[in-house]
């Protein structure tokens, strides 16, 4: 008997026309890479001094003239739009990835019609959403109902200002970066609360109140767990925290300190709850609250809510990667090497651009691993109950995060040799857990391989 899976063995080009494959590949590669490259290219001009020096080369002396300031503002706006576009593209691509992964996990096919492997389905979804009627219930509070998705959007886009993408690729490296992220990302809950109240539906109200209780509760363990790497690095700046770590796994904060190892899991669990992902998707629990706070929304407004939900995964992943997993640090390449490669010229050298690009790739790869983990959790776990969600937060995560914080207070006083030993020890422990996990998975698969039948109808 043969075991059937969702993907058959025929090649892509036999199942799809060549033009479809080519278009999909173009969009798949072009969209994220184009944004990354644009960001990379505009980056060196993000300094008034660079603009002055460049103008001098051509023969103009801009000094502090309004023309230079205008150019500077234009470049900042361009960079901001690139980052905002990146959230939209990421959210779209992630919906496709999530649906494909869910399809494989649920032994069904998933989206496969628009484009190769259904890649263009997120574009089709966006177009469909745009053409839908923007329905507002007659009894709803019109102004608030219309405004609610934008509150959520603000909560999504503001953290991207300080989220690093690469060694020098960051919109603004604020010296209070971590604090800024936790403060602005909480804006999402305003959108949830306002939408639930303005919808004038009991289901929405339930979802909104659940969402408010959940997000505000989990801000506390998340905030305390985030303080562990902040104390280890001695700075709140996102880039500063990454620079305090290294490229190899034993140089990451998660391995350098046993408390950070625990804090990582607390922070990820709390961010799952803040992002309303399963097993904490209570505000929009489908089987309980129909669709929760966005039950009454349609058209472009629900598209915004869904975009916030998926793009939030990048924030969750990027924050964990920045704080605990070494950020964009390339193994074997120190920050000094990258800075030396820049040279003293007005424009950086090609090697510098190469290192920057590599750091972008490292950061994106690490974040995608976490995003896939979130997707995997969502399609595996049932939902917890409201009281269980609360007791997990207040009885386990908050005391745990406090314990990690206090342990770290003493840990930062320990000599570097202790940090090195602990780094290698936790690395080995992590590797052992990974190997154990893979072996258990293989055993589970082997256990049920025996008497399989062809369950396919097609």
């Amino acid at each position: 008997m043969k075991i059937t899976t969702a993907l058959d063995s025929t090649s892509l080009t036999r199942r799809y026309p060549k033009t479809a494959v080519a278009t999909t590949l173009f969009f798949l590669l072009a969209l994220p890479f184009l944004l990354y490259l644009l960001l990379l290219v505009t980056l060196p001009f993000n300094q008034p001094q660079t603009l002055n020096a460049l103008a001098k080369r051509v023969g103009w002396d801009l000094g502090g003239s309004p023309i230079r300031d205008t150019w500077y503002a234009v470049i900042l706006v361009v960079e901001a739009s690139i980052v905002a576009l990146y959230t939209a593209v990421f959210a779209g691509v992630t919906t496709w990835v999530e649906r494909r992964v869910a399809g494989r996990m649920q032994s069904r096919i998933g989206p496969n019609r628009p484009g190769t492997l259904g890649f263009m389905s997120w574009v089709a979804d966006a177009v469909k959403m745009l053409f839908k009627e923007d329905l507002i219930p007659a009894q709803a509070d019109h102004l608030l109902f219309r405004a609610a998705p934008y509150f959520s959007m603000v909560g999504l886009t503001l953290p991207f200002v300080v989220l690093p993408f690469g060694e020098s690729v960051i919109a603004a490296d604020l010296n209070v970066g971590v604090f800024y992220v936790t403060a602005t990302s909480a804006f999402v809950v305003v959108g949830i609360l306002v939408s639930g109240w303005a919808s004038n539906s009991k289901w929405s109200l339930f979802g909104a109140v659940r969402g408010a209780a959940q997000v505000i509760s989990y801000e506390i363990p998340a905030g305390i767990a985030i303080m562990v790497p902040v104390m280890m690095a001695g700075t709140l700046s996102m880039q500063g925290i990454i620079r305090a770590q290294g490229g190899w796994p034993w140089q990451w904060f998660i391995c350098q300190n046993p408390a950070a190892f625990v804090a990582f899991f607390i922070a990820v669990t709390a961010s799952l709850a803040e992002g309303n992902r399963t097993p904490f998707d209570l505000p929009e629990a489908e089987s309980e609250l129909v669709a929760g706070y966005h039950a009454e929304y349609s058209g472009f407004r629900i598209a915004l809510f869904l975009m916030v939900e998926w793009a939030n995964m990048w924030i969750m992943g990027a924050l964990a990667v920045t704080l605990f997993l070494g950020g964009w640090q390339i193994p074997g390449v120190s920050v000094e090497m990258i800075q030396q490669a820049r040279g003293n010229d007005v424009l950086p050298s090609l090697l510098w651009f190469g290192w920057q690009f590599l750091s972008l790739v490292v950061f994106a790869a690490k974040t995608w691993v976490l995003v896939l983990l979130f997707i995997w959790l969502r399609w595996t776990l049932p939902r917890v109950r409201v009281d269980q969600m609360m007791s997990l937060c207040w009885k386990f995560l908050v005391p745990g995060a406090f314990a990690c914080l206090i342990f770290t207070l003493f840990w930062v006083m320990a000599p570097p040799s202790v940090h090195r030993v602990s780094g290698i020890a936790i690395c080995v422990l992590g590797l052992w857990l990974l190997v154990k996990f893979v072996m258990q998975t293989r055993k589970n698969i082997a256990d049920v391989r025996g008497a399989r039948v062809d369950l396919s109808n097609w």
Partner: protein, 385 residues
């Protein structure tokens, strides 16, 4: 209609006078009511004060139809009583009329009915356990359960040509004999099922969050389950060992050895939601045992007794009961000597589960009400008929 809302809603509206509480309708359109039912629920925040099922949205008058069509002509209508377990509704009705007509069913037909019924029980229980997992928030087990169910539907389609509304039993036998090689296919599926249940348990039954959501929730004691007239897996989940197949045998069931799984409270108190769930998983394995025995002993011979195409039974009344996937299903038929029934009455398992919901919902949380409804494996058309 507007002047006279159902009495329960009138009561609830009076009760919810305080500002703290709201009345919310779980249904008739709701993702986890398993059909068109309305649970009028009075809540204080997440805590439910009281939830009253408002049934009748799917009433199609199937019992009355039974009094206006001929005896054989009613058979396709019985499929529509419970579309997830149509074999039992067919078989129960056929048994009732056979008793009225005093017809003996050939042994081969009895065995085929038992095999088809048990396959149908497996198929129905897959939907039950899958949709229960989905109601608790895990969507992956549902699709896996539906995939497994598709294989059963394929087998039943090969047997009788239909995947959902089988119309397989006839008064005096069954409509089709098993095709050549069908028995081997069934056995192959059962081999797969027996090993797959372990994977299923790892996937969802023993999941920590799942157990926490179901254990000690809506605990129905032995006495209460009997007092409220629960039946089938809902009754056995409370630890009452009652199974019509064993305790009131019919058809070919006296020939088979099988266990009757009851809820033992492995994860919490006996009679909680997890027990009712676990009973269904274990019953699939018992059904597998029954089918294996039936296929091994399948006698040769006719599949239909001699029955007139428009039979006229002698005046009298008769009751037939089968163990459906949703509990004991009874057909009460009264004949006045004509070719149509004088009175037709069907007693179904989902309807019997409605009564206890109001009491069990008191003081529970909204998510627990969903777990309670899911653990009863309710099929709305079976409630209303």
């Amino acid at each position: 209609m507007a002047e006279n809302p159902p009495i329960e809603r009138q009561i609830l509206r009076r009760m919810s006078a305080s500002d703290e509480e709201i009345v919310i309708n779980f249904g008739p359109q709701h993702p986890s009511t398993h059909g068109v039912i309305d649970f009028v629920t009075q809540t204080n925040g997440e805590i439910i004060r009281r939830s009253v099922p408002d049934i009748g949205y799917l009433h199609r008058g199937l019992e009355k139809i039974g009094e206006t069509v001929s005896y054989p002509g009613y058979m396709p209508f019985t499929d529509r009583i419970d579309y997830l377990a149509a074999m039992f509704t067919n078989e129960g009705y056929a048994m009732a009329v056979e008793r009225l007509l005093r017809v003996d069913v050939p042994p081969r037909a009895k065995y085929l009915r038992a095999i088809a019924s048990e396959l149908c029980r497996i198929s129905s229980h897959w939907v039950a356990v899958g949709s229960m997992a989905s109601d608790i928030g895990a969507s992956t087990p549902l699709t896996h359960a539906l995939r497994e169910r598709e294989a059963v539907n394929d087998l039943l389609e090969e047997l009788c040509g239909a995947r959902l509304t089988f119309n397989y039993a006839r008064i005096g036998g069954v409509s089709f004999d098993a095709p050549a090689g069908w028995g081997e296919k069934v056995l192959r599926y059962l081999d797969h099922l027996d090993s797959y249940i372990q994977e299923w348990d790892r996937l969802i039954s023993l999941n920590k969050i799942y157990i926490k959501r179901l254990a000690n929730i809506a605990v129905i004691s032995r006495e209460k389950a009997i007092a409220y007239g629960l039946c089938g897996p809902n009754l056995r989940g409370s630890g009452v060992s009652w199974d019509t197949r064993r305790d009131w045998p019919y058809g070919a069931y006296p020939d088979f050895a099988f266990a009757v799984p009851v809820g033992q409270g492995q994860m919490g108190a006996p009679g909680d939601c997890w027990d009712r769930y676990a009973v269904r998983v274990l019953e699939m394995l018992e059904s597998s045992k029954i089918i294996r025995q039936a296929l091994a002993k399948l006698p040769e011979g006719d599949i239909m007794a001699k029955v007139k195409s428009r039979p006229k039974p002698d005046p009298g009344e008769v009751m037939a009961r089968v163990e459906s996937a949703r509990g004991e299903m009874c057909y009460y038929v009264v004949s006045d000597g004509s070719e149509k029934a004088y009175r037709m009455r069907v007693r179904t398992g989902s309807f019997m589960a409605m009564g206890i919901i109001e009491e069990m919902s008191r003081g529970s949380m909204i998510a627990d009400l969903i777990a309670l409804i899911a653990s009863f494996d309710i099929v709305a058309p079976e409630i209303d008929r």
